[in-house]
Symmetry: C2
Subunit: 433 residues, 2 copies
């Protein structure tokens, strides 16, 4: 009976890696998790779906277009588009049971119903770590989140630089200009500065309705960057605004904490604005060392109140995120990663003649001795088994024929060097370990 | 401004663990993954959504009620309800690039729109490992999948028993009775035998339209269980049917492979049927040793053709799955797991007086030396910090006051024994490692 076949295809813009690449991706995730654990964070894994009422609480209905939303029975639900709203929902639900500051990380997939483009996915991985306080939260939390980056990147054998700024300082300046009501549109224009440059940013600010003097101050402001001592003296000349000075004092405290922690891979850069308007004070972005042109590989900042839509309790927080889908693309395209302690198969065992049973025994023994390996058990020619082994990038093959069984000396071949030798079980174990 | 708050709540039937429990869950997943790697499997991570055309190819529209389906723009998509269809889609798409036998595992969430009940989730974790052949697949694959269970469970410090059967043998018997067209309903009735017993199974078979003689044969059949030699001789008396004998010969080969691999934790039990009709030959289920009454913790079997809806190529496979959401419930409710190499925080560092900076330095140093730890930096009374440390189950606290800073001897307290001592950095490192 001939049936019509359905062409197998994946949804466009959805993340899917071939197993060899997926292994590398999981390796990266494990390294990142280990750093979070080392810093005292624990994992949270919220559902992929949330009630629409919850997920859209903040935005009214604005996000609808970008969101996967559906109804089932009486349930109106959406796929999560970030981890912040689920975190807010979780903390608000469990507030009475949690110890604060509450430190959690979450790694998983999020969904955006946008048109897929190069480097833009509809389903992609997000990786967040947040520290949530109850009513107050020490500025050590900001320094802690910033310092996570160095550990995360160095665990992957990479160097990174963090650039720090403050939306409170920016707010102070805009407050000086008496343009508080235009804060969001000004911030959004300044956020484009690094991409479009001075002149075009000036045009955007003009469009918002700022006069030349105001625009000059803002453009002078976002060009300030450097070590703390340097930016402090430049900033102090700009304003005496109360909120401005508060923001600067906060940065100074964070600077002191970063010094205590002992990290050095950061500067201050007032051009770092961050898109999200829920950030209220310190904000930061992270770049791969020597590859700033690739854009930020993550960022974060402080927010005043995590869960205001769900609870009266004030829950200030700081969060850092890593754009791991993007980071993975960059890492693999530039071959930047070295796998230590590879968990993949170390050896393919190939039976010659009637020695399958002996191969299965040897394989089981090696696995008991913690060696990853497998028998190429399918009946194929020796040549096509060699081809399979080559294709799988397995570092060694072990060949077992009648001679090997009788002498208990196995033929082991290094697939990279081509080197081949006869070895006892103990010798094989030493080679594979 | 007083705003109305939205009550924070999670979708009913969706899996969410508190971070301390989530840590244990991830620990279990990591152990399981390590076993899959040791056996030469690599991970696959398919999208949470698939095109409805793909996901419902097999079932027509039957599954609609149980499925989360939605339309967005011109896209008609569903949330996956298992990993088998996504695997079939993937292998059919990549068939020309893959080496066969293709071995992959997948661990992740799946979705069923059923009414949530105790122990039944709408979103829950699935954990599958499959071996897919091209046109043919050696019976070593069945033995390999069965043998995974022992390694998985023993890596968690647990003992398990696998029970093996064959749908081909059952088909042979039903073929003898000339009831081929009723195979699915007979299999489904027999599948209930272990729950409802002989008499009620007999009633079900009667309802299907089988006469007394036929029912007797089937009831005799499903009561056969034991070691291979024993079941072989009992089964041989039941039939000379060709398919029956083929099924038995296959089990005998699998038995031989299992002997070569050297596992012993299994028996044969003809009452194992497995619900899914896509299984065509060997099937199996796994039980916790001494806790068979809790039901199967996983199962699997051989299927003739993985991707018949998507490709003309015949792709036979064997799969094993572990019900990890269920297994986790059982493990935690019965306190069955011991965490080795705990990655959680080993010490909370508590500053007394003005010594926060010193604490941050010490903490950074310990982390560099691979110790997970954290500073309780929030301004609180010493008493409430102690309470926080107690609540977090951290094994040690380190207290740093002026004396500690000047003598460089820190106060370290074992939170379980209450033991307290003064220790140098090196001594602390030894204690915490």
């Amino acid at each position: 009976m001939e049936e019509k076949k359905i062409t197998p295809r994946k949804l466009a813009g959805f993340w899917e890696l071939d197993p060899e690449k997926e292994y590398v991706f999981e390796y990266i995730l494990d390294k990142i998790k280990d750093v979070f654990y080392k810093h005292g964070f624990l994992p949270l894994d919220t559902p992929v779906m949330e009630l629409s009422e919850i997920l859209l609480a903040k935005s009214g209905g604005d996000l609808d277009k970008e969101i996967y939303r559906f109804e089932k029975g009486s349930t109106d639900a959406c796929l999560r588009y970030d981890f912040t709203v689920p975190l807010a929902r979780y903390v608000a639900m469990k507030e009475g049971e949690l110890s604060f500051p509450f430190k959690r990380f979450q790694i998983g997939k999020v969904y955006r119903g946008e048109r897929p483009q190069k480097g833009r996915y509809r389903e992609f991985y997000q990786c967040d770590a947040d520290i949530i306080g109850f009513e107050k939260l020490s500025l050590v939390a900001d320094a802690e989140c910033i310092s996570l980056y160095e550990d995360v990147f160095s665990s992957l054998g990479l160097k990174c630089n963090v650039e720090i700024s403050s939306r409170k300082i920016l707010f102070g300046i805009i407050n000086d200009l008496k343009q508080d009501d235009k804060f969001n549109s000004i911030a959004s224009a300044l956020d484009k500065y690094e991409k479009i440059g001075s002149e075009e940013t000036d045009v955007l600010l003009k469009d918002i309705g700022l006069n030349e003097k105001e625009r000059k101050i803002l453009l002078k402001y976002i060009k300030i960057n450097g070590k703390f001592v340097a930016i402090k003296s430049q900033l102090q000349k700009l304003s005496k605004n109360e909120i401005f000075l508060q923001g600067l004092a906060e940065l100074e405290q964070i600077e002191n904490h970063l010094n205590s922690i002992g990290i050095e891979n950061y500067i201050y850069n007032m051009a770092i604005i961050r898109g999200h308007n829920y950030y209220t004070s310190c904000v930061f972005e992270v770049f791969l060392d020597g590859m700033r042109n690739l854009g930020a590989m993550g960022g974060g900042g402080r927010y005043e109140n995590l869960a205001e839509y769900f609870t009266d309790k004030k829950l200030p927080g700081v969060g850092m995120s890593i754009g791991i889908s993007r980071l993975f693309d960059v890492i693999t395209q530039n071959d930047l990663i070295k796998i230590e302690e590879d968990k993949r198969s170390k050896a393919s065992i190939i039976p010659l003649g009637d020695n399958l049973s002996h191969c299965l025994k040897l394989c089981a023994k090696l696995r008991k001795d913690s060696v990853s390996c497998e028998v190429l058990f399918e009946e194929k020619s020796f040549k096509s088994k060699l081809k399979d082994a080559n294709r799988s990038n397995v570092p060694f093959i072990i060949i077992i024929g009648d001679d090997e069984v009788s002498t208990k000396k196995y033929t082991i071949k290094n697939m990279k060097t081509g080197e081949q030798s006869q070895a006892s079980y103990e010798e094989i174990l030493n080679i594979l370990r």
